[in-house]
């Protein structure tokens, strides 16, 4: 066993191998984190990032074994081989963890105050009951939650996602750990909330000189927080070094590919975008909400030119019984408040907004899967409200959808051939198979996929199958609901590229919904920005992106992590400290 001499590193991993069923899942020769140091562990799904964090916590699942040594903060025990009893003295005290999904990390039946207090009582870090209560309130205030008294008494479901993650962070910091492990702590959050959360972690960690091991797939997030970056690929460290060096000037081809892929918008405007925007200069104008005019604004209006493919007027969808959280600022109820907009044939329109902005409601209305409460929506000249069942069917066959979650968008019991051919009615089996094969080729999958089942494919491949199914009927309108947000960074760019190419090839009108401005910027010529069920701004993507008129759009643009910006800041930070 390696002997360590003071000053002890906060974390010293030596020769760590994690394996299950005889297969090595992860091997790290050496990883050291010094006091106050922040290390970013990046890699794609399956690279072993989370496994590393779990190994450090001594929380590996049954049947997963680890060999080597993991030493914490000069403590006399080695995490590997330590008894559960001695580990539980360390967990939550010397080292603590923030998980990706705050809803599942908290007990729904306990108040958040009680959960924070429990952590301190467990390790007896506070002398008395009242001291625990006092410390709980102080912690909630430290993670910048408003009115800590009230928050402490509320249950997880009464808080928003961002507030919950702050509570989890407060729990993690309760016993002043030497090492804080964060496993994708901001991935489940909205962009603007993510930006606040990262700022908060940054501040708290430097305040308390806690060391940080930050696990993420998002290079920009890692760059904005970490001093050092470790790149994992298939359980092996491929590159490590100072942030500015690894991400600014990567040497390993895999890191280079990751860096290239992480900036989706930087791949440049596609020919498709250029042709459509230049073809109709009349539409190039930015619209924001006009508070003065009496008539409601029609966004992306194409008055006078070619007929709109989609024409929405005062479209409203309200959900009854809107339940609001106790602490939410008085926002209008969820759903969709009257919006009016046009989408012209051949346009690639991006709809951007955070959760609860009404994007999904709008998508359901566009796809004819839901009825508006009031207002009208017409597609290809057919008003969906007054359409006969035949007309509605006709509208549906001119449009198709691609969904967010590749796990739920394909029936696990059907073969790929059956899935792709599903939208084709009344055709022979051989013909269906032939069409499916053709579609597979256009989404760049090989024909041997036909007989296989969805679970045999990766997320990116499943999205391709989903796209193939959507396009098999040669629709005019393709509605893509967060098509890449569940995918790894390196796959994202390729799927977007495919969508872009196919949109040009099939002369599609594309409506792409995303919370990620970069994704929209990559393939859309026009963008609609949504907030609280209304559209706040619309216009050509680049113009909105670079010169946003509405305050919310500006906030959204500013909050979106960008690798280059983060790297510049990392460089200046490093310069300031040295």
């Amino acid at each position: 066993m390696t002997t360590l001499t003071p000053p002890y590193p906060t974390l010293a991993i030596r020769d760590l191998t994690v394996s299950a069923d005889g297969a090595d899942l992860l091997h790290i020769d050496s990883l050291t984190i010094h006091p106050g140091e922040r290390v970013g562990l990046i890699g794609e799904s399956g690279s072993g990032k989370t496994l590393t964090a779990l190994a450090v916590m001594g929380l590996l699942a049954d049947g997963v074994t680890a060999t080597g040594s993991i030493r914490l903060h000069g403590l006399p025990i080695d995490v590997i081989g330590a008894s559960e009893r001695s580990l539980s003295a360390v967990r939550g005290a010397a080292v603590s963890m923030v998980f990706q999904e705050p809803m599942t990390a908290l007990n729904p039946l306990m108040t958040v105050g009680a959960q924070i207090a429990e952590v301190m009582r467990q390790h007896r870090t506070q002398p008395s009951r009242s001291a625990v209560a006092e410390a709980t309130r102080a912690l909630l205030a430290r993670v910048e939650l408003p009115s800590p008294q009230t928050i402490a008494r509320s249950y997880p479901h009464q808080l928003s996602g961002g507030q919950r993650q702050r509570v989890v962070l407060a729990m993690a910091l309760a016993n002043k750990p030497a090492l804080l492990l964060c496993d994708e702590p901001t991935t489940a959050l909205d962009v603007t909330v993510q930006a606040q959360m990262i700022g908060l972690i940054d501040e708290l960690v430097s305040e308390s000189a806690t060391s940080l091991l930050f696990v993420t797939h998002d290079l920009a997030v890692a760059a904005s927080l970490c001093d050092r970056i470790v790149v994992l690929r298939r359980g092996v460290v491929v590159e490590e070094g100072p942030t500015a060096q690894v991400l600014g000037n990567p040497t390993h081809p895999y890191t280079r590919a990751l860096v290239a892929a992480s900036d989706v918008s930087a791949t440049g405007a596609s020919p498709f975008n250029v042709s459509t925007t230049s073809a109709s200069p009349t539409t190039v104008s930015t619209t924001t909400v006009s508070t003065t005019s009496a008539s409601p604004t029609v966004f992306n209006s194409i008055a006078g030119t070619a007929p709109a493919l989609i024409e929405a007027r005062d479209l409203e969808r309200l959900y009854p019984g809107t339940r609001r959280s106790l602490f939410a600022s008085p926002t209008p109820g969820r759903g969709l408040h009257p919006v009016s907009f046009d989408v012209r044939a051949g346009q690639a329109v991006g709809i951007v907004g955070e959760s609860g902005s009404g994007k999904s409601t709008l998508v359901r209305l566009l796809a004819g899967l839901d009825q508006p409460t009031s207002g009208s929506i017409s597609i290809a000249g057919i008003d969906l409200a007054t359409a006969t069942p035949q007309q509605r069917r006709a509208v549906r066959s001119t449009s198709a959808m691609v969904f967010q979650d590749p796990a739920s968008s394909l029936d696990p019991r059907m073969t790929v051939a059956q899935i792709i051919a599903e939208p084709l009615h009344d055709i022979s089996r051989a013909e269906a198979e032939h069409r499916a094969e053709t579609m597979l080729a256009s989404v760049k999958l090989t024909p041997d996929a036909l007989r296989r089942y969805p679970h045999q494919f990766s997320g990116g491949e499943r999205q391709r199958i989903s796209i193939a199914r959507a396009l098999v009927t040669s629709p005019e309108l393709l509605i893509a609901d967060e098509p890449v947000s569940a995918l790894d960074v390196s796959v994202r760019a390729r799927v977007l590229e495919l969508l872009d190419d196919l949109a040009a090839e099939y002369q599609l009108t594309l409506v792409l919904v995303s919370h990620d401005l970069a994704v929209v910027r990559r393939i859309c010529d026009t963008v609609l920005v949504m907030r609280d069920g209304t559209i706040v701004e619309s216009g050509p993507t680049d113009e909105v992106y670079l010169n946003a008129q509405h305050g919310y759009t500006r906030a959204l643009v500013a909050a979106t992590p960008i690798l280059r910006g983060a790297l510049d800041r990392a460089q200046s930070r490093a310069a300031a400290t040295s």
Binding site: L369, F403, P412, M414, E422, R452, Y453, Q456
Partner: protein, 277 residues
Amino acid sequence: MIRRHTPRANRTILVATILLALPVLAALVSLVWTPYNPIPVNAGERMLAPGASHPLGTDSFGRDIVSLLMYGARISLTVGFVAVAIALVIGVPVGVLSGMRGGRVDQVLMRLTDVVLAFPALLLMIVFGAAFGANTTSATIALGIAAAPAFARLSRAGTLQVMSRDYITAARSANRGGLYIARRHVLPNIASLIVVQASVAFSMAVLSEAALSYLGFGAAPPTPSWGRMLQEGQAYLYNNPLLVLWPGLAIALTVLALNLLGDGLRDRFDPRRVAQR
């Protein structure tokens, strides 16, 4: 490499099939041949110990136990199969319809299900027996009706889960109707749930038939069934425990085989499980 199926599931199915083959074969053979006639009373050979002429001995009426078990298998298995079939035919469509339609249809169907569920199953069977005659047919129908709510509830829960999936939205936006969705998406995805429930319901039916016969509401007196054998053997439990051991073993083995079969089939027909390990 794609493995077709897990060895474990196959082994389970194999064991279950062998175990189940015994009563099924016995029942089939009993149609054409039994060692002795299992119906008439034979006062001269009452309660014989197992021996050369009667491998498992004879019962209190002097009937050969092997012949009784074979004949009884016929009754018990038929009751089980038919009762499960009735439960499936009523329960699954109700559950799927309820889950797919939602709203008022769901409310009405589920409250009806609750009514049947709230009625004690054994009482229902006894009422049926009293109203339509204490015979196997009325017992079977009553068993089927009593088992239907479980299928309805289960199918509804499974259907709700499937309906929330994006592939249903995809099918609907591809103009696929409710029947198509039920047939191609819902049923295949809830099949494994139903298969397991069917195996449980089958064993419940075999046991309930035994209980009913025991109470005198199942197979009419001269007709032997496993349950009736238990009932008749009960009086001699202290003198000759073998009389209840044989039908008891037959019931236990059949139920075990069916439960194993249910487990094995669930694993075997789930493409996701096939890929693992």
